[in-house]
Symmetry: C2
């Protein structure tokens, strides 16, 4: 396989095998929406995919899209939302370092984006599911971030914004991609699968003018009159890249990504002089909230100390556990709130007293006892002065036996994908390290650094893919028409 960064000069291309106004690399959510949008703008579009067909990581996802500002479903289900409140939440929850311009544009156009998806056949049921990122039913709306948790509930009026595509089971991503693949086909996009794009082609001005790909073992070159769009996923399945840029993420056992998430799209861009930014950042899911009553437990580190409000979103808890506590944390429950967690994890101790549990866990003497005593004292009054867990989630842990669910990285199913990638403008133009556009190059989805810099809320990646995929399609089409 050729090197992604082995940028090719147009002088070395003896002939073009095909050409189009817009050439798109990758047929996941971002590539599909880029293609549809470019066609809507009147461009001739060639979509190249390394696998046998469309899907990418979007197809493997839960099919949840972060949308708000007052979508038809939010309104039908009785929730009030506005782009302003959505924006306040995202600016607070995705920072520091969030891309404010992207967040503002996305919030302003979120309702229209929802309608665009519906118009292209993406099905949503007009129903509210509840809290949590997974909707095992075919329902739609859920709280998929920390909207209800402190301090966010005070900073922005909460609303559920996770919009899951209508499909029974937790893998609605398949339905989402079936819809988007259908819409892409209907759009008149020329789709070519089994085509692995290897590197970019530039002219003497370093403008991107095409891609070199491998088809049936032979090299093929595709000319892009208006622009190339990189929509080729992230890099969670490239061990060397993860080690190089985000070594802590390697501790997570489950990598949420398809084989194509090997960072090739990002590397192709870097080879053409693009800057990859925030490459250390990952979405780190610590799945401990099913059944929901478990958030009434308390998370402690190996010192027997709490470190977070347990009702913050599971990605925020995962980030704190992995990055700040060395991935070694335990959820303490009493008998009243105990339940077998889904997915399962090791139950490291079940004891009749907190003192015995503390000993079983090898914690410093007195540490867990003190933590639980303090927690219980305040929980009895519906308060959590240290971490501000919501009163609904507070109950004294006083019913033996007491259990310790082991949510350390070697026991629990930490789920991870990368959030860093090419630096892009809201228009999806790819930028150099000087902040200037690489002319002719666009990108979207997990090939880019998108809406979330930290404190991920579920649905933001498919939001990135679908919304900024459309931006990329529009921008590349516009450039082809202006020439």
């Amino acid at each position: 396989m050729g090197k992604a960064t082995a940028l090719r000069s147009v002088a070395t291309v003896s002939q073009w095998d095909d050409e189009a106004d817009v050439v798109i690399v990758g047929f996941g959510g971002a590539g599909a929406c880029a293609a549809i949008a470019a066609r809507e703008a009147g461009a001739d579009v060639l979509l190249l995919e390394r696998a046998g067909g469309g899907g990418g990581t979007t197809a493997l996802s839960t099919g949840q899209i972060y949308l708000g500002g007052g979508t038809a479903i939010q309104t039908k289900c009785g929730f009030t939302d506005s782009s302003e409140e959505m924006c306040k939440y995202l600016l607070a929850a995705c920072g520091p370092g969030a891309d404010e311009a992207k967040i503002r544009l996305f919030c302003d156009e979120s309702v229209a984006h929802y309608e665009w998806l519906v118009a292209h056949g993406v099905p949503f049921k007009e129903s509210y599911y509840g809290e949590g990122s997974y909707t095992p039913t075919d329902d739609c709306l859920s709280y998929s971030g920390s909207e209800l948790a402190w301090p966010y509930r005070d900073l922005a009026t909460p609303a559920p914004r996770g919009h899951t595509v209508q499909q029974d089971g937790i893998e609605a991503g398949g339905m989402l991609m079936r819809s988007l693949v259908g819409a892409t086909e209907r759009s008149g996009t020329r789709i070519q699968s089994d085509t692995l794009c290897e590197t970019l082609v530039v002219d003497d001005n370093r403008t991107v003018v095409g891609v070199v790909a491998r088809v049936d073992g032979a090299e093929a070159c595709y000319r892009a009159r208006g622009g190339v769009i990189l929509a080729a996923g992230g890099f969670i399945n490239n061990k060397e890249m993860v080690q190089r840029y985000a070594p802590l993420l390697r501790k997570c056992r489950f990598r949420a990504g398809c084989d194509g998430d090997d960072g090739r799209g990002i590397r192709m861009g870097m080879g053409a002089g693009a800057a990859a930014i925030r490459m250390d950042v990952g979405c780190i899911v610590l799945p401990f909230t099913v059944p929901k009553q478990l958030i009434k437990g308390i998370f402690v580190n190996r010192r027997g100390m709490r470190f977070i409000a347990e009702d913050l979103y599971q990605t925020v808890v995962g980030e704190a556990a992995l990055l700040h506590q060395d991935g070694e944390v335990f959820l303490i429950t009493d008998n009243e709130i105990f339940a077998r967690p889904f997915p399962e994890t090791e139950i490291t101790g079940v004891e009749d007293s907190i003192e015995e549990l503390e000993r079983t866990l090898g914690f410093p003497p007195g540490s867990l006892q003190q933590t639980v005593a303090t927690y219980n004292e305040h929980a009895a009054n519906g308060e959590d002065p240290q971490f501000h867990k919501h009163p609904d989630n507070l109950t004294p842990l006083i019913h033996p036996p007491f259990a310790a669910l082991n949510y350390s990285t070697d026991k629990a199913l930490y789920t991870v994908f990368t959030l860093g990638g090419l630096h892009t403008r809201p228009s999806a133009e790819v930028l150099s390290a000087d902040g200037d556009p690489i002319v002719g190059l666009y990108a979207a989805g997990r090939t880019t650094s998108g809406l979330a810099a930290q404190g991920y809320s579920s649905g933001l990646s498919i939001a990135d893919a679908t919304f900024f995929g459309r931006q990329a399609g529009r921008s590349a089409a516009a450039r082809s028409q202006a020439r």
Copy 2:
């Protein structure tokens, strides 16, 4: 000023203003050592510096170099060290994600590197100062990391490895650079100051063959027959880059760097297809250890909870405070250990009881009282079961009044510089995102990601600069001779 990433094709260079086997960009510690080493290897060397003369950030530093394995001074002062123990410490303290190959090579050759520096006129006094990164006297040796702290003291036999250049005052970096500038001049390097290198020149194979610079407002081009070495510092003084790659570092009030630390060297490399890695990482110094008795206090976060052993090195404490505690931490002392800190910081409360201090600080009721009670109970026995502070640094805090020294980012002098940069091999060859060398391009010092990925120990940056500067000089000279 031209764009750093506006890579130039050799076809656009109408004439070369000068040429050399090795062209070096930047005359700080890395550039100086690269030049000397390249000359030692028989190369003709042209050294270009944007300022009026040599110095860079090395000249502004404390002149401390992390060296060990049994240097003459370690031995004279009665300390036993070996490259193995040094390596064990660095692998544990600089990870996860430390560059093992660089650390191993550096430890293996550390004694020889010390001797090389001495041979080139860098003065060291054969004396031991003590602990801490600053030696206000002209003494040499000090513990400049977490060698004596848990868990490192159990993982590797501790030895002081901070070697400060002989010079009264805490700015021995000036003396270091005067020595290295002298050695560079004696080496026969052709030194040209007031020359701002703007971008790299590549041939049709994307081999780096020179640089484009600006001299007296006009463009000048310099051909490198063997290679270009980027030794142009980090990016702490480029606000946009810090925001883009490492936004949390912006909270630190004092940026340790010269004007040249604007990331241009890194961006020049990126423009030529090099990968910049670990760009999120910084050295974050929280200066709270002068006078040293202050480490007998306890650090608490805004919840009144401890979060670290106070005798870990001040960079490790700074990292934990900024990255894990939102940069909002307080050092609690009693009257017996209290002292005016240097540098000064706000004393937010002085009260006759911990309860009152807790109230003054606005901490959750009971939180600080519980923390201090637990700490005191164990400290009385010379123990710290939660954080393992060394018994020498433990004393119950029982003598009123009690004070809270505010070490939050808006009050204390958090000092920061960037540790991320171009990805290089131990040979100083610069690598693409695919991990392949950019032929003809080398880099060293803070233009690169070096020995420390996290958990910085003082002296590692000048170690990076001087040791890997030499590697760069040797590698580039060897390439010029092989051609």
